[in-house]
């Protein structure tokens, strides 16, 4: 059963949608997955950026992430005035900030590079938390309000 899940979720134990892994886990990664060898140049760039220390990124890489974060923030503030989006504005903001969130958690907090255990812990807490609070919001929005 667990094997079945491994097969389903991972390609022979390797997530093929994963970004290429770092040298720490995978000194000589084989190219597999949907893009085959086509991904090699990207991978080379990636390795260059993340090769600095044991399993973290290079300073340059972090600066790039920082720039992306700033750009997203600028877009957010700019998009704040796109009133024509109407009801789409909120989802847009949520998606943008989710992007920032993932970048910080994945790269600055090294979850992408680190042992998966940490990612599991944090993700599990996030999932429980979000599920709970969404349920709570729904309850208070559609719950006793209606009865009044």
């Amino acid at each position: 059963m667990a094997n079945f899940f491994n097969k389903l979720l991972y390609h022979d134990g390797r997530g093929w949608w994963d970004l290429p892994r770092t040298q720490w886990q995978d000194p000589n990664p084989e190219m597999e997955g949907p893009f085959g060898d086509g991904i090699i140049p990207i991978k080379k760039a990636w390795d260059f950026l993340t090769a600095a220390s044991y399993h973290h990124g290079t300073p340059l890489f972090y600066v790039v992430v920082g720039v992306i974060l700033s750009i997203i923030t600028i877009v957010e503030v700019w998009a704040f005035n796109w009133l024509f989006l109407g009801g789409l504005l909120i989802p847009l903001m949520l998606v943008l900030s989710l992007g920032k969130f993932v970048l910080v958690v994945g790269f600055f907090m090294h979850l992408k590079f680190d042992r998966k255990y940490y990612a599991w812990i944090f993700t599990a807490c996030m999932v429980v938390g979000i599920a709970l609070f969404v349920a709570l919001l729904l309850l208070l929005e559609f719950g006793h309000q209606v009865q009044q």
């Binding site: 720490w24 600095a52 220390s53 044991y54 399993h55 973290h56 990124g57 290079t58 300073p59 972090y62 600066v63 992430v65 920082g66 974060l69 700033s70 923030t73 957010e76 503030v77 704040f80 504005l89 909120i90 903001m93 949520l94 943008l96 900030s97 920032k100 969130f101 910080v104 958690v105 790269f107 600055f108 907090m109 042992r115 255990y117 940490y118 812990i121 944090f122 599990a124 807490c125 996030m126 429980v128 938390g129 979000i130 709970l132 609070f133 709570l136 919001l137 208070l140």
Partner: protein, 218 residues
């Protein structure tokens, strides 16, 4: 027999970790704590959202919130996160001076963020919004105030580490201490990312809910 064989797992600092998972105790503790803090801030953010548009009197968000100023302080906090990760990277590589420089940059940026917050709080009080005024004031001040308290704690902690790095007690081989502080700091940053979105970007146009008087100022 396999179980008695010695198998060494090294962590990123090259020290042998013989915990059953191969993970550092401290780092595991920190991540578990952050998971716990997710619930803490989650509850407050949920409270904010529950009470969104439920204030009976003004000022309402649209009367006080100022996106440009807050985006600057948001930017400052984001950059402090960048500085933090650079500090860790340099300390890990043994480039002590650069590392120290970046640690103190985090401290400075964090302090600037706090100054922005102090300014913002003062300004709001000036405009007539206090924690007692209405539900928006209550939820806004307590949530951002507790976030500010987290930032303050992080600034103090990093100052402590910064001096350690100056004196040479924080080095590549015990950079795990800095990494922990870093995790905390980044977490505080992502909480702000959410707060900025929820309170500012999403709610900043909220005016008086139907049935409540608009805010005319004092």
């Amino acid at each position: 027999m396999a179980a008695s064989a010695t198998y060494e797992v090294k962590n990123e600092y090259g020290e042998v970790i013989n915990t059953s998972t191969g993970l550092s105790n401290k780092k595991l503790l920190m991540w578990a704590f952050l998971g716990s803090d997710v619930m803490f801030f989650g509850s407050f953010i949920a409270t904010f959202l529950v009470y969104r548009n439920r204030s009976l009197v003004g000022p309402y968000p649209a009367d006080v919130l100022d996106i440009p100023i807050t985006s600057v302080s948001t930017f400052v906090l984001l950059m402090s996160s960048l500085a933090m990760v650079l500090a860790l990277s340099y300390i890990q590589q043994g480039r002590q001076k650069l590392g120290t420089f970046w640690i103190f940059s985090v401290v400075v940026l964090g302090a600037i963020f706090l100054l922005f917050q102090v300014y913002e709080f003062n300004h709001f009080v000036h405009l007539g919004l206090t924690p007692r005024t209405n539900l928006f004031g209550t939820t806004f001040f307590i949530l951002t105030g507790l976030h500010g308290a987290h930032v303050t704690l992080g600034v103090l902690w990093l100052m402590f580490l910064g001096f350690g790095s100056l004196k040479g007690t924080l080095r590549a081989d015990n950079a795990i201490d800095l990494e922990l502080a870093g995790l905390y700091w980044h977490f505080v940053d992502i909480v702000w990312i959410v707060i900025f979105t929820v309170i500012y970007l999403i709610s900043a146009r909220d005016v008086a809910p139907p049935g409540s008087p608009p805010f005319v100022g004092h």
